[in-house]
């Protein structure tokens, strides 16, 4: 077994705050959107709760973003040309075929390059496009009147709401897929452990 220190402490703290918040946002989001079918919380409490968690996650995101830009780690999210052209296909082949046969993962994370090409593509889109978009639409919905000129420009509150809601469904789906993908380490719990201790274990390979 090889041990790699993959997730420094701030990243782990950030990840778990973030994870808890996204789950709570999805759950309270369901309550808000379907208040006539689900009666776990009153609409008012759900709205207030959702707003508070939303603010926490936005601050958490800004801290993360600052940290990653400042330390230059943000580069770990940008795939290289080689990765886009070949790495991604290699990785798809592995997940779609090799993994079932017990082939080794073609990608080997290092502290400076911890995401495989598919992860890079997915996380870059999520962290730099979808999540910011969700935060921006969320902030608009937090005080619609304050941003009424933006809302008018976009065509009205229902349009802003539609974007926010579609992304909400995406994040709900993402949680499920993300959770599942996290079981694809060398043991089902390996990635979970790594996100707690920081150390990822990789089986030693015999060349």
């Amino acid at each position: 077994m090889k041990r790699i220190y993959l997730h420094p402490l701030p990243v782990r703290i950030w990840h778990w705050i973030h994870a808890a918040c996204i789950v709570l946002l999805v759950l309270s989001g369901i309550q808000i959107r379907y208040a006539d079918h689900i009666h776990f919380m009153s609409l008012k409490d759900a709205v207030n709760f959702h707003n508070i968690i939303g603010i926490i996650v936005s601050i958490d995101f800004l801290l993360w973003f600052g940290y990653y830009v400042f330390t230059g780690k943000i580069k770990t999210y940008f795939p290289t040309a080689e990765e886009i052209l070949h790495g991604a296909i290699r990785q798809i082949r592995y997940y779609g075929y090799g993994i079932f046969k017990g082939e080794p993962n073609p990608f080997h994370p290092t502290p400076d390059n911890k995401f495989n090409p598919l992860q890079k593509g997915a996380y870059m889109t999520i962290m730099l496009v979808l999540l910011p978009l969700q935060i921006v639409t969320g902030i608009i919905l937090l005080d619609v009147e304050k941003w009424s000129y933006i809302v008018d420009f976009l065509g009205g509150i229902k349009v802003v709401d539609a974007i926010h809601v579609l992304l909400f469904f995406f994040f709900a789906s993402f949680i499920i897929a993300h959770f599942y993908l996290a079981t694809l380490g060398h043991t089902p719990l390996a990635h979970f452990k790594a996100m707690i201790t920081g150390w990822e274990e990789e089986p030693e390979e015999h060349h």
């Binding site: 208040a35 006539d36 619609v144 809302v151 008018d152 065509g155 229902k158 709401d161």
Partner: protein
Amino acid sequence: MRWGLLKILVVLCLGLALCAFEVGTVWAVSNEDCLECHGDPDFSTELPNGKVRSLYVNPDRFKASVHGVNEVSCTDCHADLSELDYDKDVPHKVPAAPVSCGDCHDEEQSAYESSVHASFRKQGKKTAPYCFNCHDYHYTKHLEALTVEERADKFCLKCHDPMKIHAWLPEKKLHFKHVGCSVCHAPETGGEVALRLYDVAKGEFLSGEKLLKVLKVDYDNFAKHFDKDGDGKFSADELSQLVKVLRKNKIHAVVRGEFVVKYDPSLHAIVKDKAVKDCDACHSANSSFMQKVYLVVSKKDGTAAKYPVDNKALSSIYVSDFYAINANRVPWLDIIGVLIVLGGVAFAGGHGTLRLLTIPLRRKDK
């Protein structure tokens, strides 16, 4: 004999009518008589405290008011001033008796009697409004064409600051823009949805006049022009068609929704304790306020033409500036959403199952 009696009756009636006419012409005061003095823009009087009080009534604006148009005269309201005595400095009694709007508007009056304002007045609070502290008196206009915000500005906001109260309500400004004060404060009257076209580029509501000029139709043919299925109601598609035609004419309008109180005298029973506070009263698909929906097109005189809209149209994305969480969700968004989530589940479930099924394969390899 019978003819004789009839003749006498006819003569008697004619005589009476003539007498009445005589009395009228001799005694009744016309608006012009009053305006001889009160029609002068500088006509004013000095109060004991030295302040000047204008006694001017603008004749043109009075004539254009609802009362002017309906030939309500000065002395219909100022009933105690129906005689003028020109021998005196002031030809009528002063101070004049308070005007009682309720003499004609009895339904409004009786609803008003059960309002918080009437009870505060009874307790001696003179700042609590009677009819004409809320309404204009000489220049009263129809109010139906007013938007929720204009209504609040013209009435309640003169004396109340709703942002300082209603601590329990989130997004107060948004609510007060889309929900009239009386919708919550006159709960017995009930409400409906008013849809209007809001010009996003100009930042103002599209007036009825301009709308019809652009479309080259009149008030009577406006709805028929778009009513392709002939059901007498605007559907979501017909609304979207309307927005598209406007866009072709370079007007970027969105359909905005508002909860307004029904235009009925009972709206004057303003209450506090029984005011609507329950979120579900509005934020639910069967909200009583969502049952009747109209497209409101303003008229110049302050009235409005109201064209019925199918209330299913509220959940269309085309009614884009109106979303009362829960009450008018867009159904296809939910369908897409379910598909997105199912996609995640199918991926995890499918891949996971394959992994389980291929366990023997990996064992053999080792």
